[in-house]
């Protein structure tokens, strides 16, 4: 039981990273193999317009849900939820702003969009990972 709690957050990380990074790459490789096309597809080409921001909000929402299910006090739960929600919204703003600029025929620097969305997504992912570790630690304390 103790060992499972030690690695549970690693499994959680793999569950989120797998579908986001590995699955699109595998599907794109399969599509290229089927259609005989030669296209270089990496994370940057998949998320060039800041789509990582949308994934960050989904990730933040799932961790907020876990926080509300936990036995932390309402004070800690609220603080964690606010921090995660703000970080997720900031990441989402990059994607929305890029979309609005494209629609409004304004200048949109793809290099900057990619860099900002990547930084904010890594931020959300790292905060979510630490919160998940803290949740696992509390769960271990409660159930031991």
């Amino acid at each position: 039981m103790t060992n499972w709690y030690l690695i549970r957050w690693l499994v959680w990380m793999a569950v989120f990273l797998g579908p986001v990074l590995f699955l699109p790459w595998v599907i794109s490789r399969a599509w290229m193999h089927q259609h005989g096309a030669l296209i270089q597809a990496g994370p940057r080409s998949f998320f060039a317009h800041g789509e990582l921001g949308l994934l960050s909000v989904i990730l933040a929402s799932s961790v907020i849900w876990n926080l509300f299910q936990s036995e932390f006090t309402p004070h800690t739960t609220s603080l964690g939820a606010i921090v995660l929600a703000l970080a997720g919204i900031m990441a989402l703003c990059v994607w929305v702003e890029c979309y609005c600029r494209q629609i409004g025929q304004e200048r949109c620097d793809p290099e900057r969009v990619w860099r900002d969305s990547r930084s904010l997504s890594i931020c959300v992912f790292s905060v979510a990972t630490v919160v998940q570790i803290l949740l696992d630690r509390l769960q271990r304390v409660v159930t031991s």
């Binding site: 006090t73 800690t76 703000l86 970080a87 703003c93 600029r101 630490v130 570790i133």
Partner: protein, 165 residues
Amino acid sequence: MSAAAAALARPKRRVVVVRMADSAEAIAVVSIAFALALIVFPLSLPRLIVNSWQHGHLTPSMIVLVFLLDMFLYLRVAYILSAKPGVGAAICLGSLPILTLTGLAILLERAVRYTISMDLPKLEARLNEEILAHTYLGLISGIFVPFLLIRLLQQFRANPGRSRH
């Protein structure tokens, strides 16, 4: 203006415009360092934090750490952009880490009182986890809140033609 006066005039440097991505990188680094420290020292790190909190050293040391980190981050952005640090941003960076972390210290006191009043089993271990979680979230908030406010103020005042989007 004469040609000599124009040559002697200093080039006007624009004020630093921060983006949330600047602070996001710092938050990610702090989070990864905290996670690694928690994995490598699962018992001694929480004990150190709880002892520090019991002696009343936790909040002042967090304020100093966050203040230095925020200043370093802001000056780094100013250096990269070759821009001038703004007065408003300096006021925000000087006051908001103190206000944020003092507010969170009060919140932690309330959370501890709430946990004690619930009379739950394994009370001490639960309190340690609460203090650990608050310490981490306080560090993150101390970096995030000042930069968020600076960004919002700059966005509010920005001329669309001059914004760094």
